[in-house]
């Protein structure tokens, strides 16, 4: 009998303690602050600081914070300071969704800067669409998306490939081997590549997808040797890039005859693989750290001063940086009107900013960005030599390969034939 009461009391006590520990939210008052009260503008920063994609997302976090600091140092926006609320979604889409909810619903940020992988963007999209908030997405991606709650500052396939593929065919040949990581970005880029190749009379001699994080490429390299392509069109990401390059060279393949042409290899990966393994391969991107412009020199110097002199900038951290400035311009334009995400979105249309890569502009038709694709050849010192640069900025066409569809400010529309 005593057992019953004691057990019960102990159980209740433990439960209470456990609850209190586990749910600090219960006893920490969740002060709901207005979005832009008293000289503060709250923005969310949602990049993984732990986990597999932390490798690159930490640089995005750093670029974003640096931009915010710059803006605040100049007095903020219309006298109001930007307050970044940083969350770590730990490279897990479910956690991304959770943190996005916190930033949008809990902290009431007016905008959130975030995401590297498409999976994480897709996971947070419902939150932004439901609460009509605004997500600024800086990463190159596969296109075919047209959300009214996202501003896309990364490159889409037409911007990355329209110059690149013809150049490759002209300089190296028509046989392509497509290798990518196993998810939608590489598959969609390869779709576009195949369309371009067909127009040019090219041929796909192999197409393969390896698991994310895969690092054993001996079988793949064997297939390269077998099929003898002119170009290896690579969309592997992360660790796989480093492993592939190293094993390629170690196996004795020659980049002068069978170069790897990538959309995802950046200064970051080259630093990790060692310059000698990257020499002779190509990347297409709107930005390279070696680009010679006053804005870029300023950007790289500031980044190094702030985060460490061995740091590199790359084509994902640069958009993460300039998108904050575009945000600033949009908010500044709104003046003393109330700051709501839809207003910010509309104010951001046609905003232009002299980014490190060149003048960029947000396209009002689809909320994507006009960019300056470049073709770079990797050098031994870890930087890219820019071989070709477009003469004028390239319009973003997220549905370029799908003529029946077009992205409009009100969302996706199907064109009548």
């Amino acid at each position: 009998m005593g057992l019953k009461r004691r057990t019960f009391l102990k159980g209740a006590a433990a439960l209470g303690a456990g609850t209190a520990v586990g749910f600090p939210g219960i006893w920490i008052k969740n002060a709901s602050l207005a979005q832009a009260a008293g000289g503060e503008i709250k923005v969310g920063v949602l990049y993984s600081l732990t986990g597999t994609t932390a490798i690159i997302e930490t640089s995005l976090n750093q670029a974003t914070l640096m931009a915010i600091e710059e803006i605040n140092a100049e007095g903020g926006i219309n006298g109001k300071k930007l307050v970044p609320i940083v969350e770590d979604p730990a490279s897990d889409p479910a956690t991304f969704a959770q943190k996005a909810r916190k930033l949008v619903v809990g902290d009431k940020c007016v905008s959130v800067f975030g995401s590297y992988t498409s999976a994480s963007r897709k996971a947070v999209l419902p939150v932004f669409e439901k609460y009509n908030n605004l997500y600024w997405y800086p990463t190159l991606y596969e296109g075919r998306e047209c959300s009214k709650n996202v501003i896309y500052t990364g490159a889409v396939p037409n911007q990355q490939q329209k110059e690149f593929v013809p150049w490759l065919v002209k300089n190296f040949g028509k046989k392509f081997y497509l290798i990518g990581s196993n998810y939608i970005y590489p598959k969609e880029e390869n779709n576009v590549c195949k369309i371009l190749l067909k127009e040019l009379g090219g041929e796909v001699v192999g197409e393969e997808y390896v698991p994310l994080g895969h690092s054993e490429f001996s079988s793949v390299i064997q297939k390269f040797k077998d099929t003898n392509p002119n170009v290896i069109f690579s969309t592997v990401v992360g660790d796989s890039v480093v492993a592939l390059h190293r094993q390629y060279k170690a196996a004795g393949l020659d980049p002068a005859k069978m170069p790897m042409a990538s959309l995802t290899t950046s200064e970051e990966e080259i630093a990790a693989m060692g310059g000698e393994f990257a020499v002779g391969h190509f990347t297409s991107a709107p930005y390279f750290q070696s680009y010679d412009s006053p804005e870029n020199h300023k950007f790289v110097d500031a980044f190094r001063k702030r985060w460490g002199k061995d740091k590199t900038t790359n084509f994902v951290s640069e958009p993460a940086y300039f998108q904050v400035h575009l945000f600033k311009q949009a908010v500044a334009k709104l003046g003393s009107k109330s700051l709501t995400p839809p207003d910010i979105r509309m104010a951001s249309w046609d905003q232009e900013f002299k980014a490190p890569e060149g003048m960029v502009k947000i396209d009002p038709k689809n909320s994507h960005t006009y960019l300056w694709p470049k073709i770079g050849e990797a050098q031994k010192d870890g930087q890219f030599k820019i071989i070709q640069q477009v003469k004028e900025w390239v319009e973003p066409l997220p549905y370029w390969a799908y003529p029946g569809q077009v992205c409009t400010p009100n969302g996706l529309e199907n064109k009548k034939a």
């Binding site: 019960f8 456990g18 959300s147 939608i184 994310l212």
Partner: protein, 384 residues
Amino acid sequence: MRTSVMNARIIGYAAFCLIILAVPLFIDDGYLLNKLSRYLVFGILSMALSISWGYTGILNLGQAVSFGLGSYCMAMALKLRTIPIQTGANGLPDFMVWNNVKSMPWLWEPFHSYAFAICAGVAVPVVLAFLLGSFIFRARVTGVYVAIITLAMLVVINLLIIDQQRLTGGFNGITDLTTLALFGVEFDAYSPATYYLVALSLTAALFLGLALISSKTGLIMQAIRDDETRVRYFGYDVASYQNFAFCVSAGIAGFAGMLYTLVMEFASPTFLGVPISLSIVIWCAVGGRASLVGSALGAIVVTGVQGSLSETPAFLDTWLLIMGALFIAVVLFIPKGLVSVLDFRLFRRGRRRETPSARPAPGAAAPETGRHASAALPKKFRAG
């Protein structure tokens, strides 16, 4: 004696459930309710593992398979009812259109019906568990080897789901889902309705589990956990009981998966990943694997602490370190879990010993799995 133990348990469980159910009376912030719902779903998941691990001795490292499959079933049903706002055409989900799929795959057809989806969410994991279980338990594979096999199956299924992008959305998962509306109630992820659904499910699962482990079947399951060979000598078909526990565990996990889709508003292959599967084991162990409410509590406390720590700016860098240290501390000093701190007397009364902790000699690790009949012999000579 057993009756008073039982009554104590029932009262304890009821108190726990009442507290859980009463929460929305004090909290009306949708975001918080959603967070709590997520923790409760993990509680159900952890409790399911406890049935197979704590009570039957089967360490299912692939529990996430059942969880993930359940969540995908629900996601598929919801997806088919989403008004396509991205690119869907011909009633095809948007991701299929991106993958240039021309017509609805036959696998998706039956999910137009909610009834089918809900049944499938439980049935598919159970069937899979049954098949796998029949395969391994008949061969008297137990202990660590079951763990390895379930882990391997997890990796395989994860790879397959990510690979079959045209069917499953690949690495992105199935996102952009409509809200479930059943029996006139809308289960929006932030609404009290969803919270109550999850809380009620947890309550139901707990009492179902309690009924199970208090029954004769439950006794036999626990006997199998303690000494499989001895139960076999008594004439019971051990493999069937193991398979039963395995399947029940899978079914509950599948149901938890369906609830998770409602709470998170998407389904992702990360739900079937190795990290989350290992996490389930951790929650179960921290809370007390041999206690249903303990393991549920373990999940809620651990994920709760994790959620709070990772959201506190001061711990942004170190929350993982703290979690790791906490686990180590719990494993070393409170091996039976948090619940054991409460009522160790209850535990000691009910069981004589658990096989793993009774062994002082690490060298005997291999045969302790009970594979060789000769392993039964030394036990007679070991001090009880």
